[in-house]
C-alpha cells in the first residue's frame, strides 16, 4: 500500500471517527498524554525523578508528606511553599592579600502564616574555601547562621541547612528576647531554627509563632584565599515549605507530580506493547485456526481453551516473586496470557471471510494457503484488531499496577502502581495523605477509560462489514 492509499483510508476512517464523541475524548486524552511524554524533560519539576526515585539525597530538601501547594487556597493560615531560589546577586570584592570575597545574596519573599521547615543553601566549589551563611530579616536583624571551612573541594555540592547548621545561632538569637525560664520549658528539639528565624522577635516567641512577613535575604559568603586555585559557582537555596509542588510529596519526600509524570510513559509503554503484541498473535492464531479447520482447528482451540482458563494474576505474582523481573519480562508474561483475548472473535470472522467468493477466486487462481491468509484475510482483520488492542491496554496497565502494588514490580523504574504500593506501605489512608493515593488511582482509571473509549469507537467503525463494499 502506498502512502496515498494509507492517506485515503485514514481519511475515510477519520470522517466516521470524528462523529464519535467518546472516541474523540479518548483521542484527546491520548494526544495530551503523548505530548506529556514527549515534553517530559521540560515538564518535570524534578528532572532526574526517573533515575533518582529511590535515592534519598536527591529529595532531601523536600518536606515529607507535604500537601500540594495549591491547597493553600483553601486554608486560612497559609503554609509556606517549598521553593528553589536561584538568581542570587553576586558581589565580588577584593580584600588585602589578594583574597577574593564573593557574596551571594538571595531574596526570599516570605508571606506565609506558618514557618518554613528549613532553608537550605547549596553551593559548589574548588579548593579550600571558608564559607559563611547569614540571614537578614525584614526587621533589620542579621543573624550569622553558620560558618564552615571546607578543604580540598573539587566541585562537590556543599549543603548548609539552617535547621541543622544554624541551631546555635538561632538559640542565641532567641535568648535576646525570651527569658531563661520560658526557654527551659521547651524540650530540646521542639523548636526549629526556622520557627525562630521567621518569628516576630518579641517575648513569647518561643511559645507562639507570629510570622514576620517580608523580604528575607540569605547571604552566603565564600572567601577565596587563593583565587587562582579556588572558585565557587552555582549556588541556590531551597526553602523547605510545608506544602510542596503540584501534587505534594510522599513520606520519602519525593515530589509526586514528577513521579506520576515519569510513570506515564511506562503506563503507555506497558499498555501498547502488551496489547499490540498479544493482539497480533491472537489475530494470527484465530485466522490460522479458522482457515485450516479440521484437526488443526481442533488442536488450536484446545490449546486456546487451556491458556484462556489460566488465571493471569496469580501466575504473574508467582513469577514476579521468584524472578524479580524487569518491566519487559512482565510484558512478556502478560503477552503470553493476553493473546487469547481476540482469538474467538477473529476466528469467527475469519470463518466468514473464508466463505467469501474472492477467497474462492484466489484459490481458483492457484493461491497458496499462506498467500490467502496473509494477503487476503489478515489485511481485512487488522483494522478490527486495532480496536481490540485499544481495549486490552487498560488490562495491561492494571495488571502491572497490581503486581507493583504487591511490591513485586520492576524496581528500576517508577510506575503508578509502585506509587500506590508505597502509599499503602506508608499508611497513607490512615494518615489522610490523600494526594498520595487519589492521583495515581485516578490516572490509572483515566488511562483505562481513554483506551476503552478509543477502542469502542474504533470497533464501531472498523468492525469489518464483510458483505458490503
Amino acid at each position: 500500500m502506498t502512502f496515498g492509499d494509507i492517506k485515503y483510508r485514514l481519511n475515510e476512517f477519520w470522517s466516521e471517527f470524528r462523529k464519535e464523541k467518546s472516541g474523540l475524548i479518548g483521542l484527546g486524552i491520548l494526544i495530551i498524554a503523548l505530548l506529556i511524554v514527549i515534553f517530559e524533560p521540560l515538564i518535570l519539576p524534578w528532572k532526574d525523578a526517573n533515575t533518582k526515585w529511590r535515592s534519598i539525597d536527591y529529595w532531601q530538601d523536600n518536606s515529607a508528606n507535604a500537601p500540594p501547594a495549591w491547597t493553600n487556597a483553601f486554608t486560612k493560615l497559609k503554609a509556606p511553599v517549598t521553593m528553589r531560589i536561584e538568581n542570587a546577586k553576586k558581589e565580588e570584592s577584593e580584600l588585602d592579600n589578594g583574597v577574593k570575597l564573593i557574596t551571594y545574596t538571595f531574596d526570599y519573599h516570605y508571606t506565609a502564616d506558618k514557618a518554613p521547615l528549613d532553608v537550605i543553601l547549596h553551593i559548589t566549589g574548588h579548593g579550600d574555601i571558608p564559607f559563611q551563611v547569614a540571614l537578614e530579616r525584614p526587621d533589620g536583624e542579621t543573624i550569622d547562621l553558620a560558618q564552615r571551612f571546607e578543604q580540598g573541594l573539587s566541585g562537590q555540592d556543599i549543603r548548609f541547612s539552617i535547621d541543622n547548621d544554624g541551631r546555635e545561632a538561632a538559640f542565641s538569637f532567641i535568648k535576646k528576647y525570651e527569658s531563661e525560664a520560658a526557654l527551659e520549658q521547651l524540650t530540646g528539639n521542639s523548636l526549629r531554627t526556622a520557627d525562630i528565624m521567621f518569628n516576630i522577635a518579641q517575648p513569647g516567641m518561643a511559645k507562639e509563632f507570629k510570622p514576620l512577613k517580608g523580604t528575607y535575604k540569605v547571604i552566603a559568603k565564600a572567601m577565596l584565599v587563593d583565587p587562582v586555585n579556588s572558585s565557587v559557582e552555582e549556588p541556590y537555596i531551597v526553602v523547605t515549605g510545608s506544602v510542596s509542588g503540584l501534587l505534594g510529596t510522599d513520606d520519602s519526600k519525593r515530589d509526586l507530580f514528577s513521579g506520576l509524570v515519569a510513570g506515564l510513559k511506562w503506563a503507555l509503554l506497558i499498555g501498547f506493547l502488551t496489547s499490540a503484541i498479544s493482539v497480533l498473535i491472537g489475530v494470527l492464531y484465530g485466522i490460522i485456526s479458522a482457515y485450516f479447520g479440521g484437526a488443526v482447528d481442533s488442536v488450536m482451540q484446545f490449546v486456546y481453551q487451556i491458556v484462556n482458563s489460566m488465571p493471569v494474576l496469580p501466575v504473574l505474582i508467582v513469577i514476579s516473586a521468584i524472578f524479580k523481573p524487569n518491566i519487559y519480562m512482565l510484558i512478556l508474561v502478560m503477552v503470553l496470557f493476553f493473546w487469547t483475548g481476540s482469538v474467538m472473535t477473529v476466528r469467527s470472522m475469519a470463518l466468514q471471510i473464508k466463505e467469501e467468493t474472492y477467497i474462492e477466486a484466489a484459490k481458483a487462481l492457484g493461491a497458496k494457503k499462506s498467500r490467502i491468509i496473509f494477503k487476503h484475510m489478515v489485511p481485512i482483520l487488522i483494522p478490527y484488531s486495532f480496536a481490540s488492542m485499544a481495549l486490552s491496554v487498560p488490562s495491561a496497565i492494571v495488571y502491572e499496577s497490581s503486581v507493583s502494588l504487591l511490591g513485586l514490580g520492576d524496581a528500576t523504574i517508577v510506575t503508578w502502581g509502585q506509587i500506590l504500593h508505597d502509599a499503602m506501605q506508608g499508611a497513607a489512608i490512615l494518615k489522610g495523605i490523600w494526594w498520595w493515593i487519589l492521583p495515581p488511582g485516578l490516572l490509572i482509571a483515566i488511562m483505562g477509560m481513554t483506551f476503552a473509549f478509543l477502542g469502542f469507537s474504533m470497533d464501531k467503525i472498523l468492525h469489518p462489514k464483510l458483505k458490503t463494499r
Binding site: A362, L365, R371, R469
Partner: protein, 352 residues
Amino acid sequence: MADIILSIKNLKKYFEPHQSFAQSIVGGGQKKLIKAVDDISFDIRRGEIFGLIGESGSGKTTTGKLVMKLIEPTSGQMVFNGEDVTRLDKEKLKQYRRKVQMIFQDPYASMNPRFKIKDVLEEPLIIHKVKATIEERTKMIVKALEEVKLTPAEEYMGRWPHMLSGGQRQRVATARTLILNPLMLVADEPVSMIDLSTRAEILYMMKEVQKELGLTYLYITHDLSTARYFTDRIAVMYLGRIVEIGRADDIIDNPLHPYTQALIEAVPEPESGKVNIIKELPIYGEIPSPANIPRGCRFHTRCPYATDACKTEPEPALMLDGEEHYHACSRAYEIKADRSARQKTGSDPNSP
C-alpha cells in the same frame, strides 16, 4: 473430427452430509449421499462456447467447480488438452490453473474489497511467479484491461472495486482471467447479477475476447435466452444428469426432453398480449432433493407425460437424434407427436 479440449467421462460427485456424533450413532450407518453430479459425460470443442443450463439443484455449479478443480470428483475422468487431469499433484495443479480460469457470478464479491484493481490483476502474476519486471507486469495489466475495453487503463488501475459499477467489475474479473493467457474460461452466471442493459454489453465483450484470443468457454447459467445468443452448444442438466445436449439452436427450436420443453415454456418473452394468460407449464412441483433422487427416470415425479414404465425402468441414457442432438427421454418422439397434434387442434397441452 472436432478438436476436443475438455472431455468429461462419467463424472460423479457425491457429498456426505455432515452428521453430528449422536446422529452417526443413532442413524446406524445409513448415510444419505447428496448426489450433486451423478454420471455426466460431455466434450467441449476447442474454440467453442459451451453452455451448461440448469436450475438450482441441477448440479451445474458443482460441475463448474469440478472442472475448475476446486473440488475433487468422486469418480469419473477428466481429460484436458490431451492430458488426464482427474487427479493432479500440487505442481501439475498449478499448471492447470494457468490454463483454466474462472469468472464468478457475483462481481461484488469476487474481488477483495481492499485490493486496488491493479493488485487484483497482478495477483495471478504473483501467484504464478511470472518472471517480469514491474514495467513488464504493468504492461500486461494494461493489455488485459484494454482487452476488456476498460480504458484508459491507468485510470482504472488505481481504483478500488467499490468505485466501479457491476459491469465494470465483471470486466475486471474477466481481465483477471486473461492475464495468464489461459486456454479455457469457466463462467458461472457471469451476468445474472448485472443490470439488463449492461448484461448485453458484458456478453458482447466476452464474445469479442473469445474470438480474438481463440478461447474456449464453459458458460454456466439458468438463463436460456442468453444461452441462445451466447453459446454454440448447450447441455441441459437436471438433478445431476445431462438430459439433453446439442447445438443451442437445435435444442431451443426442437426440444426433445420434457424438462427442456418446460424450461422453454417458462421463459418470459417481451411481447404484448400475454398479460391475461396463465401459462401452461408442462411440469409439476419443484425439483427433488439430490439426496433423494427418484427411481427410474429421475424426472418422472415432475413429468406430465410419465408412464409407469418411466417410474420403474432403468434411467434412459442419452440417445442421438440427427447429427449431434442427444436427449434422455424414452418417449421423446411420442410426446413430440402428441404435442404438435394438440397444438394443431388448439386444445391445451398437459397442465399441472
